[in-house]
Amino acid sequence: MIQVALVLVILAALAAVQTRYLRHGVIYLGLFSLGIAFVYLLYNAPDVALAEAIIGSTLSTVLFIVALQKYKIFTIYYRVSGEDAGQDAASQSVIKSLEKFCTKQELEAQIIYTTEPIADIVENHQFSIIMNKQNMQYDVFIHENNYKIDALKTYLSQELPSINVKILED
């Protein structure tokens, strides 16, 4: 019994360190706390197990998740071409609408104007979404692993139905 719990604890710890997404790491850390609380219980220390289960598994997990939600930065690459600097009224209203989306989702909007082609941005930069303007038609590119993909689609279909959402694959 105790061997199974110890192996589970080690696996959870390794997964928490090795994972790609911070959110998954937080969940693995909660799993680690639960496993180690069970181990304490098997070693006849119910007091310590109770404290570990409450503090490690409940309080710190929720606090980490809240912290991740608060400090998330949503990077918007706005691709302008040549003489069009993205300062006209239509572009500004689209950007304002995207900022409203960020505020609603508790994200921090960061807008970067660029003239690079889309393939270069995908290759070289950390981005959340890329906005492209071509002959008065706006396209929004979003990566398939993005967490906000469904929320963005719903929001844009309500607020700005003229924008196409295109999904970038790996």
Binding site: L50, I55, L59
Partner: protein
């Protein structure tokens, strides 16, 4: 959480009196069963998290919680001094259970206030 779900807030509203009763049980039975002031206080502090998940509006004032915490620490020290005097002069012999329950209650109140201060401060005021 800007769009919190009705399901979550309703179910947490049913659950959190039970969490409160469990925390009080852990505190008041600290001298008989595993647990004690610290664990029970942390359970009561976890109610703050449940409250935040249900509807994120601050409802405990920071000033009040902090005053309660400081007063509890003071009472704990006074109780310790009183206990020392009473046992060395042998005015009252026995009755340790009352002392244990009282200390556990004070520690639990103090830890609950501390946890809720940390959670409130972190969740509602920490912006950037």
């Amino acid at each position: 959480m800007s769009d919190h779900s009705q399901l979550l807030s309703r179910s947490i509203g049913i659950i959190y009196p039970i969490i409160l009763i469990f925390g009080l049980y852990v505190i008041f039975n600290g001298h008989v069963t595993p647990g004690g002031g610290f664990q029970g206080g942390a359970i009561i502090g976890a109610i703050m998290i449940a409250k935040y998940l249900a509807d994120p509006i601050p409802f405990l004032s920071l000033e009040w919680t902090q005053s309660v915490e400081k007063a509890t620490l003071l009472i704990l020290y006074v109780l310790a001094a009183l206990f020392c005097i009473v046992t060395t002069l042998q005015i009252v012999v026995g009755h340790f259970t009352i002392f244990l329950i009282l200390s556990n209650t004070l520690i639990g109140l103090k830890v609950a206030c501390g946890m809720s201060i940390i959670i409130n401060r972190f969740v509602y005021y920490e912006t950037r």
